[in-house]
Symmetry: C2
């Protein structure tokens, strides 16, 4: 798996879960979609469970399901639940006492805070249902997909 692919991996997994409807999918099964192993999947989507986006059940027949209909799950929520900023440039002080650095950090933090608001607003317009719809369009056009859903 490549770097910084957690958002895309999570959405891939969630869209498969949306397609699976009420059936729950095991970590093993989800892992096969993104070519990794079950532990990585659990780690990746643990935050989504805490955010009330997915729920997991243990034991035979257990696995993962969406906690809500895909229409009600926005990409903004998913992104936030993953717990990393979309704008990962650092604003950590490295030259304590330097007023130039202070000015730079203040400006970048102001920018980041405005920008994150904008990005969340934009991401809030997309839902998992949109993704599922687009997937089905592609399926109807091509008539085959690699994974069993």
């Amino acid at each position: 798996m490549k770097r910084n692919s957690r958002l895309s991996s999570a959405l891939h997994i969630l869209t498969h879960m949306a397609e699976a409807d009420a059936r729950s999918l095991t970590s093993q099964h989800l892992a096969s979609f993104i070519h990794t192993n079950p532990v990585v999947v659990r780690r990746t989507i643990a935050g989504l469970r805490e955010a009330g986006i997915v729920s997991s059940t243990r034991g035979p027949g257990g696995g993962w399901q969406l906690s809500r209909p895909p229409e009600e799950i926005t990409l903004a929520e998913v992104s936030a639940a993953l717990g990393e900023s979309l704008l990962p440039f650092s604003t950590e002080p490295e030259s304590p006492g330097c007023l130039v650095e202070e000015a730079v950090i203040a400006m970048l933090e102001e920018f980041r805070s405005e920008a994150e608001r904008l990005l969340a607003e934009k991401l809030g317009r997309y839902t998992l249902a949109d993704l599922a719809t687009d997937y089905r369009k592609r399926f109807d056009r091509i008539g085959v997909t690699r994974h069993a859903v």
Copy 2:
């Protein structure tokens, strides 16, 4: 130096260059501002030279200067010249043939392209002159700074 601090490092350096006015500053000197070494500085700002933001001269008395007045250098330009996206989430295909992944990637790329436009627009409103002004405000208030400028 921490990760992903290239934007903040570059702005720190550039603001010192703005304050130095016409004097040119050596890589060694710039490096001391961000507590690293000259080679890292040259690497960091090489892209800025190619973008026409700074110019460098060799030999005795040489070093780095802004190519234009700080009023005319926006943070959008600086960010672009560093050559890395502000939104570094991956959209590389990892499951070729999976239509779900294709749908996810298409949506994320649409989002990224819109978002980058928005961010560039926001960053275009800040200039190096704004940074220098803020620095001077801080200096007037506190009356001391760590670096010799």
